[in-house]
């Protein structure tokens, strides 16, 4: 079913072909550096995940790499082509699904894709054929001749991904591709992206879902206020902050500081706590036994409802890298700014 989408390897043999390289990429809006000092080296046929809070600079990075915006400093090549010097040639090799779906509400899904195919230089028939394959692949066939205006958010999102694949891109940029997708659609999309990667496509995706980065990405870059705060494989990042974590759930918020203090003797670093979840979390030193933790909590008079030892997740990495205070892990939204 999907054979038709296998793309002839453009520029095969060129070591840079298909990959993405960025050096000291920065973008300033007025006084604000939305992105600063971004270095990337994404090998062809691999997936890079860009992680970060709202306003961290993910979209800014994607916009520069996809020729929509110009870097204030630094340089980048996509598929071996300099984005600033030859934006036109870059556009021939990339596919983009922006954070906000960019589909035309007053046309059918099929015509949206056909128009895009034609702009890629395909004949109408060819564009239509490829469009239909992609609609089928993204589970939209049923709605192919419906006006996009009538689409749900998730359908629009998927159509946008289909649009990004019309040109059989060597490098695919997906800005939060699974935001708003139901779990099944998300799983389908992941599967499809894996297929593309196995065919040699390079993917750069941004996401808020750590699970997604964990599953999809070979490499992860964590951005915070425009700066790269971590870079590595999911395993490396997890290893970096200690392998095992201890979660202690207490009955009420007033006990959080006491619990944190009680377990700090077993911890690699200062425990963090989540006010809403009433959970204290800390990376624990190797060899610590849970029974000792229970005793320490009991001695301190803390009423622990639940104690669990588990492997670190990317969530932990993310929190410890990007939270302003290491002592408090809360999900307050004050440092979140929305772009425009």
């Amino acid at each position: 079913m999907y054979e038709q989408t296998v793309r002839p390897l453009k520029g095969a043999g060129d070591p840079l072909s298909g990959g993405v390289v960025a050096t000291g990429l920065g973008k300033r809006f007025g006084d604000l550096w939305a992105l600063r000092g971004l270095d990337l080296n994404v090998a062809p046929g691999t997936v890079l995940g860009l992680l970060g809070h709202n306003g961290a600079g993910k979209t800014t990075a994607i916009r520069i790499l996809t020729t929509l915006s110009q870097a204030t400093e630094g340089s980048a090549t996509v598929a071996g082509i300099d984005v600033a010097a030859h934006p036109g040639r870059v556009r021939e090799r990339i596919g983009v699904a922006a954070q906000q779906a960019t589909v035309d509400g007053l046309m059918t899904a099929r015509l949206n894709l056909q128009t895009i195919g034609c702009l890629h230089g395909m004949s109408k028939a060819e564009a239509r054929r490829r469009g239909d394959v992609l609609l089928e692949r993204l589970d939209l066939s049923e709605f192919a001749s419906k006006l996009v205006r009538t689409y749900s958010g998730g359908m629009r999102r998927r159509l946008d991904v289909a649009a990004s694949l019309m040109g059989q891109p060597e490098v695919l940029f997906l800005d939060e591709p699974t935001t708003g997708l139901d779990p099944r659609s998300r799983g389908d999309l992941w599967e499809m992206l894996r297929e593309l990667v196995s065919e040699g496509t390079t993917i750069i995706l941004t996401t808020q879902y750590l699970e997604e980065a964990d599953r999809m990405a070979n490499d992860i870059v964590v951005l915070d206020h425009g700066r790269t705060v971590a870079h590595g494989t999911p395993a490396e990042l997890k290893a970096r902050i200690g392998d095992d974590r201890l979660d202690v759930k207490v009955a009420n918020a007033s006990e959080l500081p006491g619990a944190a203090k009680a377990i700090s003797v077993f911890a690699e670093e200062e425990p963090m706590y989540d006010m809403d979840g009433l959970v204290v979390t800390a990376p624990i030193r190797p060899g610590v036994r849970v029974i000792d933790v229970v005793r320490a909590l009991d001695d301190a008079g803390i009423e622990a409802i639940d104690i669990a030892r588990r492997e670190a997740t990317l969530d932990d990495v993310f929190m410890s890298l990007t939270s302003n205070s290491h002592h408090q892990r809360d999900d307050s939204k004050d440092d979140q700014r929305d772009p425009i």
């Binding site: 809006f29 556009r91 021939e92 922006a98 589909v103 035309d104 046309m107 702009l119």
Partner: protein, 264 residues
């Protein structure tokens, strides 16, 4: 990249036609509205307005042509504002299409609409009794002038759309600008019937000059000149100068705005 700007523009222009197929109401302001204006003015007001040498119906058509083409500024402005709002523009900018094709595609589609308007207006005119009384070359020159003016208006509309960004704002601003400009002119009533101050305004109004030029070229009655200013005294050359300047201006500011809006 073997495709030409024209190919890309045509692909993009097809979008606008598709929009009209989906929402035919979009077409009313270039079809039904001018038709309604002709009928309303010819039969409702026509009897009350006296025009020498030919009568009101012959007078009216030149005015309605220019007025309707001026209102055609709203179409491109709305389309662009909608594209900007929905982010569609970013999609096209990541495709290997020529940068200029985007605006040019809109221009082609809107021009098709304006051509349709001209055909409908002239057809209705003929039905209600309007005729030309000039040589073929003059009539052809009149039609050419209409097309150049239509071009100017569309580019100004494209500029307005990029500037304003919101389709609703376009509607508001468009009406506030276009209504007074087209009504304080010789479009529907001869200038001498206005109070003296308005006579000055209407005589200096480039729309009056364009309308006078079209009437002159079609051999239709013109509004007698009461306030002597060079353009209204020499409507045909002045109208050409205005139109060409407006095309140059509209094209420049629209392209500039577009570049500025799409480079951050």
């Amino acid at each position: 990249m073997s495709k030409s700007v024209l190919t890309d523009s045509l692909i993009l222009a097809r979008r606008n036609l598709e929009h009209i197929r989906q929402v035919p109401e979009k077409l009313t302001n270039v079809t039904v509205q001018p038709l309604m204006f002709v009928l309303l003015f010819a039969y409702v007001f026509g009897g009350a307005i006296n025009v020498d040498n030919g009568g009101y119906k012959e007078y009216l058509i030149g005015g309605i042509l220019i007025q309707t083409l001026a209102f055609a500024m709203m179409g491109p402005a709305m389309s662009i504002a909608t594209d900007l709002k929905e982010g569609v523009i970013d999609r096209f900018r990541t495709l290997p299409s020529r940068r200029s094709a985007y605006l040019f595609g809109h221009y082609l589609a809107e021009m098709a609409g304006s051509l349709l308007t001209i055909v409908i207006l002239l057809g209705t005119g003929l039905i209600v009794g309007w005729r030309t009384h000039a040589g073929f070359l003059h009539v052809a020159e009149g039609l050419a002038l209409l097309l150049v003016f239509a071009t100017a208006v569309i580019w100004i509309g494209l500029w307005l759309g990029i500037l304003v960004r919101s389709p609703d704002a376009v509607m508001g601003i468009g009406f506030v600008i276009v209504f007074p400009i087209t009504f304080i002119s010789n479009a529907f009533v001869p200038i001498q019937s206005m109070p003296s101050v308005l006579q000055w305004v209407a005589s200096a109004n480039p729309i009056s000059v364009l309308i006078a030029a079209v009437r002159t070229l079609f051999g239709n009655p013109v509004s007698p000149v009461t306030k002597h200013i060079w353009p209204i005294d020499h409507p045909v050359p002045a109208a050409w100068i205005y139109s060409v300047l407006l095309v140059a201006l509209g094209w420049t500011i629209a392209s500039r705005r577009y570049r500025a809006r799409t480079m951050d």
